[in-house]
């Protein structure tokens, strides 16, 4: 596997230049961050039917981002999401929104 990744990295360097290959992004970061929302919105954003929680799975990414940014700015009134959304950077919220949008 080590060899495989090395091959892949070489391929990458060829494709996009050496700089980016150095930063090893965490491939599970979006999944892990999104899992912090599951306590209230359900595993993978699939809320328990009839629980009253908003399901996030399969919602358009731009729509999710808009809501989250509106919670952060205070434009969207909330009991708790204004406090929670401020705990994540915009980049982290982008990852989370993309992750939920891709769930079916």
């Amino acid at each position: 596997m080590k060899l495989l990744r090395w091959t892949l990295a070489v391929g990458l360097i060829g494709a996009m230049g050496a700089v980016h290959a150095e930063e090893k992004a965490d491939p599970n970061l979006a999944r892990n961050l999104a899992a912090t929302c599951a306590n209230c919105h359900g595993t993978d954003g699939k809320a328990v039917a009839g629980s009253g929680a908003e399901a996030l799975a399969g919602t358009d990414k731009a729509k999710l981002m808009q809501k989250l940014m509106d919670f952060r700015s205070g434009a969207k009134p909330a009991t708790i999401m204004h406090q929670i959304s401020k705990g994540y950077t915009e980049a982290q919220l982008e990852l989370v929104a993309a992750y939920f949008a891709a769930r079916k």
Binding site: L4, G11, L29, R31, T36, A38, N39, V48, K86, G87
Partner: protein
């Protein structure tokens, strides 16, 4: 399943760039193999068992050992004590873990850990081998700190009801049997203890019940702490609503109990109650505290925050109430669930020969009922700080409710249903 080597080759040929993120995500999940034993099927243990299976795409084998036949939730149990909910509302089966997630669930007790040989011993006599072990045993009560509660008989009279189950039912019964004009006294230990706002929620819900049914009665809150330890302003307001029925006494550490007469002995005072409810001081569950795993203050497990692995016992991860908490981190079911997810991700990486994520993030919310319908919350977000090697609260995030409100009463019940499903279904 695709052939990984072929897939990689194809991706490389196609340029590789676009395919990389999704590809390595899948490869990570499916590469992890091994057997993880989880001890304790509560908020931490059930969650880690499910997420290990889910995130490894069923590649990692998981055995969950839990001494109880069913899961009974502490969250919402104060509503059972207050008469607003029934035991059936907080009791759930482990069948979802068994049938949906293929977790091997054993009703048994782990009596010993041999971390060198990577084996645990079961009360029934068996031995389980593991590649990685997760302990989420919750808390043990430090009865040695409460003279007078040495015997079973004393403990059957002076209840804690701080582990949901038979004690929850028994405390409800004591309150139902109490005469109008009786005194319910609740002793709260010094922080840290399981669920900081829990005792104040219980005081409110008992006062709510007594106010409606036995209005001459009293609720006496004997707090060892110098002030309300969680949501102080909001609980102070709630207590005002129960003026005449509820009395809050700070700096009231319990010295001794006389169970027969249901008397709490304080430093300068003795309080005789009709129902005496003592939440004793706590430490990590026995299996974590007595296996040679390093503790802090002789009470809580010292862990590495990137993986929740014990700092001195390789291969053993400890989560939930049993660990020494990071700054401002509460001992809550919500937090135990979040520990579990960081740990599941870390173990899957470790079993695949990868390092755990270097940026774990966890968040907490504790909802508390101040009566049958109105709820207050406290929330926080915590991020790993590489310089401090611990998890620190994110500044500017989190907070508390503006005021107790019914909408959050609905959200609190919704939270319970979703977190129970997140761990068990």
């Amino acid at each position: 399943m695709w052939n990984r080597r072929e897939f990689l080759k194809g991706a490389a040929l196609a340029g590789g760039v676009v395919a990389l993120p999704g590809l390595s995500g899948c490869a990570m999940g499916s590469k992890a193999r091994g057997h993880v034993v989880v001890v304790g099927g509560g908020f931490g243990g059930a969650t880690v068992a499910k997420y290990l299976r889910m995130w490894s795409q069923m590649g990692v084998d998981v055995t969950l050992v839990e001494r109880n036949p069913q899961f009974i939730s502490c969250p919402i149990s104060n509503l059972v004590i207050g008469g607003d909910k029934q035991m059936a509302d907080i009791t759930m089966s482990y069948d979802g873990l068994r049938n949906t997630w293929g977790v091997k669930v054993l009703q048994d007790t782990v009596t010993a850990v041999d971390a060198g040989a990577r084996k645990v011993t079961l009360a029934s006599g068996g031995v389980l081998s593991y590649d990685r072990l997760v302990l989420s045993p919750g808390i043990e009560f430090m009865y040695d700190q409460v003279p007078g509660l040495e015997t079973e008989a004393a403990r059957d009279t002076v209840l804690h009801a701080w582990k949901a189950g038979a004690q929850t039912v028994a405390l409800r019964k004591q309150l139902e049997d109490m005469k109008d004009g009786g005194v319910y006294a609740l002793s709260i230990p010094k922080a840290p203890y399981r669920c900081p706002p829990g005792p104040y929620e219980r005081a409110c819900l008992v006062a709510n019940y007594l106010q409606k049914t036995k209005p001459k009665s009293k609720v006496l809150v004997l707090d060892a702490n110098e002030e309300i330890t969680s949501k102080k302003g909001l609980f102070t307001k709630a207590f005002e609503k129960y003026k005449g029925i509820l009395e809050y006494r700070p700096n009231s550490e319990l010295r001794e109990v006389d169970a027969a007469s249901r008397t709490a002995v304080l430093e300068f005072d003795k309080v005789k109650a009709d129902v005496l409810n003592v939440v004793p001081p706590q430490r990590a569950g026995d299996i974590a505290a007595k296996s040679g795993i390093k503790l802090i203050n002789n009470r809580w497990v010292d862990i590495d925050w990137l993986s929740f692995e014990s700092v001195n016992t390789p291969g053993v991860h400890v989560i939930g109430d049993a660990i020494f908490p990071a700054p401002t981190m509460p001992k809550s079911g919500h937090m135990a669930n979040q520990h579990a997810k960081v740990t599941a991700a870390a173990i899957i990486n470790l079993l695949a020969g990868e390092a755990p994520s270097s940026t774990p993030l966890v968040m907490n919310t504790c909802y508390s009922f101040v009566d049958s319908k109105n709820v207050i919350h406290v929330s926080s977000v915590h991020l790993y700080d590489a310089a401090k090697k611990t998890v620190m609260p994110v500044q500017g995030a989190g907070g508390v409710s503006a005021a107790a409100n019914e909408l959050e009463g609905k959200y609190a019940l919704s939270w319970a249903r979703n977190i129970w499903a997140d761990m068990l279904v």
